[in-house]
């Protein structure tokens, strides 16, 4: 049993406070959704949890099973059991998926680099990733949807305790969204994975059914409830929670990355 405990987390980018005191607790096997309007701090939350350079934590704490994550460099947070599926997976020219995951396994306790190839092959089969993508440099020349599949594949191979999914649905067609959601649900059941799914659109939550839904607005969690909260948002939008009146979380079928307005504030 693992627990990611976020307490009164505050963070800023130069010149702007973004997170103004977040409280969230995610435990093994649970699926939490964080929904929020444009600019509410969703991407910042994901990157602050993982330790991306450029964000300054100004208060609060984040622990994973009692271990202070904020004191650790990014790679040690990952080794401690936290995984981030990025909204915009970064291209790493010249470094293959196999190279990266073998290096991660080699640095871990209790896992061997020699396991990676087989694990990738199994997960590629489960997720329908074509083998030719596996030898390519990470994320280079992949479509948005292919990148999200690739993130999920890595999640499945790495087997974290807690996974943060930052807009994992953007860029995916419905079939791909379903495949990815089934794999993540399987991880919650098989590996007792805890999930923090950050999304603007409720359509992800039709596939990846949350136990708890939080609404993030103005850098704070302003509402928490069951799945019915997502259903309510689908009807009423975020206006009640400080978002713009037209910031309605809608089911859309083609969320291309270029059209996605919810960019990382540092990107």
């Amino acid at each position: 049993m693992s627990t990611l405990a976020i307490h009164d987390l505050q963070a800023r980018v130069p010149g702007r406070d973004i997170l103004r005191g977040i409280d969230l607790t995610v435990s093994s096997g649970e699926v939490h959704a964080v929904m929020g309007p444009n600019g509410s701090g969703k991407s910042t939350l994901s990157h602050v949890l993982m330790g991306r350079p450029g964000y300054e934590v100004t208060g609060g704490s984040v622990t994973l099973d009692g271990q202070d994550l904020l004191a650790l460099p990014t790679w040690e947070r990952a080794q401690a059991g936290l995984f981030l599926s990025m909204q915009y997976p970064i291209e790493v020219p010249g470094v293959s998926l196999l190279d990266a995951l073998e290096a991660a396994f080699a640095a871990s306790e209790g896992r061997a680099a020699s396991e990676v190839r087989e694990l990738i092959s199994v997960e590629a089969g489960r997720l329908g990733v074509e083998p030719r993508f596996l030898s390519r440099p990470l994320n280079v020349d992949l479509s948005g949807g292919e990148r999200k599949r690739n993130e999920t594949l890595q999640l499945a191979v790495v087997r974290p305790r807690i996974a943060v999914l930052d807009e994992i649905d953007s860029g995916l067609d419905v079939d791909a969204l379903r495949t990815i959601s089934r794999r993540i649900e399987a991880a919650t059941a098989e590996d007792n994975l805890g999930v923090l799914a950050i999304t603007h659109y409720s359509r992800l939550l039709h596939e990846l059914r949350p136990d708890v839904v939080h609404v993030l607005s103005g850098g704070r969690i302003v509402a928490t409830g069951g799945p019915e909260l997502a259903a309510e948002l689908e009807v009423t939008g975020y206006a009640l929670y400080g978002g713009a009146a037209d910031d309605t979380p809608t089911v859309i079928d083609s969320g291309g990355e270029a059209a996605d307005p919810f960019a990382d504030p540092l990107a």
Binding site: M50, G51, R52, P53, P73, T74, W75, A78, Q79, F83, L84, M86, P89, I90, E91, V92, P93, G94, V95, D99, A100, L101, A103, A104, F105, A106, A107, S108, P137, L138, N139, Q154, V158
Partner: protein, 413 residues
């Protein structure tokens, strides 16, 4: 040991070169072509010509490793301080007219390239044994030919000179390796590739000289009608190591690809100056130079694409990318275009910067330790070239050498 001043020159051509050199002044960094260089530090009186007798030292470990990794060869020449100590060529190829070996200094077969450079003149005057490789028309040499230069002895100046003449529709791959013991020496290598019509020539030169050795190199090439030349330089060693490259594409439809990998650490300086010179229609040149600097090292890339009148339909590309790994390191990149024809497609790009922070973050977010992530990214940066070199069996060795450079370049606590 004889000095440059009192060395007895055996023939008229050499005497005339020596006089020409003596009459010229050494260049300074005030000259555009030597801008950014360390030429002002050069003191020729510190160096003397190696004595005549061949001492037959063992090969350097670096040369041994490269020869072991290269696998089966079609020919091999080993020089020590510019003198041939070993020369062999496959019998079957010799029977087809392939020749490889030293010629007399001053021999017209090894006439110096017609460039205005005092060190090329010096090489012509004082080089001990120019090497000539000739591949007759239509002959395909499948395995690589290796030319290994070893520099031994403190205070020597050595003048390697290699001429490659590839006949019409011939094919050959030439791998050169320069290495030395830990000596204070000056190496002035000249290579001259003459690629015939529709010939296919690939060239790899690996420079792994000692850390107190200076190199002032000049590589010229000319590609004839529909011919193809690929030339890759891997520069790892040297104190100040300069390589000037003039790549002429003078036959219609000819192409010339230039690549380089360079990696400096400590106080090293790698200095590249390139010219892609198009003088015929529908010619192509593609340059990709990638470097890294760590420690207090410096690198310079200065390149010019020249498209002369009449070279219509030219495609010419020039890309230089540099990783700066430490605060004390420095890289310069100066790409230039000089285009005197309308119907051309040319581009140049250059970049200088640290290892990408976002790429590091991505790998770290998967659990890859920072130093390992940096190593993966740096090796991946160079793989774009190492994956394409003419002697694929050397890839692993060169990749390992780049990894070792990285360990020296970035201090770890």
């Amino acid at each position: 040991m004889p000095t440059l001043a009192n060395f007895p020159l055996d023939n008229a051509a050499r005497r005339s070169d020596a006089e020409r050199f003596a009459a010229s002044e050494l260049p300074t960094s005030a000259l555009e072509v030597w801008r950014y260089s360390r030429i002002d530090e050069l003191d020729l009186t510190r160096y003397a010509l190696p004595s005549d007798g061949v001492v037959s030292q063992p090969l350097t470990a670096a040369a041994e490793a490269v020869l072991a990794a290269a696998g089966d060869l079609a020919g091999l020449v080993v020089t020590e301080n510019g003198r041939v100590v070993r020369c062999e060529v496959d019998d079957a190829l010799a029977a087809k007219g392939v020749t490889l070996g030293p010629v007399e200094p001053g021999d017209t077969a090894a006439a110096p390239p017609a460039v205005d450079d005092p060190f090329v003149t010096l090489n012509a005057a004082f080089g001990a044994q120019p090497l000539v490789l000739t591949v007759p028309d239509g002959v395909v040499v499948e395995r690589p030919i290796a030319v290994v230069h070893v520099v031994a002895g403190d205070g020597v100046v050595v003048f390697p000179h290699l001429v490659v003449v590839a006949g019409e529709q011939s094919q050959v791959t030439v791998m050169e390796h320069l290495s030395s013991a830990d000596v204070d020496a000056l190496v002035i290598p000249v290579t001259d590739f003459r690629v015939g019509p529709a010939a296919n020539v690939r060239h790899l030169v690996v420079q792994d000289l000692g850390r107190r050795v200076w190199q002032l190199g000049y590589a010229t090439s000319d590609v004839g009608r529909d011919g193809f030349l690929e030339s890759a330089a891997v520069a790892l060693g040297g104190d100040y190591a300069r390589l000037r490259t003039d790549a002429r594409v003078s036959g219609q439809g000819a192409s010339s690809n230039l690549m380089a990998v360079y990696f400096g650490e400590g106080e090293q300086m790698h200095d590249f100056r390139t010219l892609q010179d198009h003088s015929a229609p529908r010619t192509t040149s593609d340059l990709l130079f990638k470097g890294a600097v760590g420690g207090e090292a410096t690198s310079v890339y200065t390149g010019l694409i020249r498209v002369r009148p009449g070279a219509s339909g030219t495609n010419a590309f020039q890309t230089n990318r540099n990783l700066v790994l430490t605060e004390g390191a420095h890289a310069e990149s100066v790409p230039n275009l000089e285009i005197e024809e309308n119907d051309v497609r040319c581009s140049h790009a250059s970049a200088i910067g640290p290892v990408d922070e976002d790429q590091l973050y991505y790998l770290e977010s998967r659990g890859v330790p920072t130093t390992v992530a940096e190593r993966l990214i740096v090796l991946g940066f160079f793989d774009e070239i190492l994956d394409r070199i003419a002697v694929p069996s050397l890839r692993a060795l060169l990749r390992a050498a780049v990894g070792t450079k990285l360990e020296h370049a970035v201090p770890r606590d």
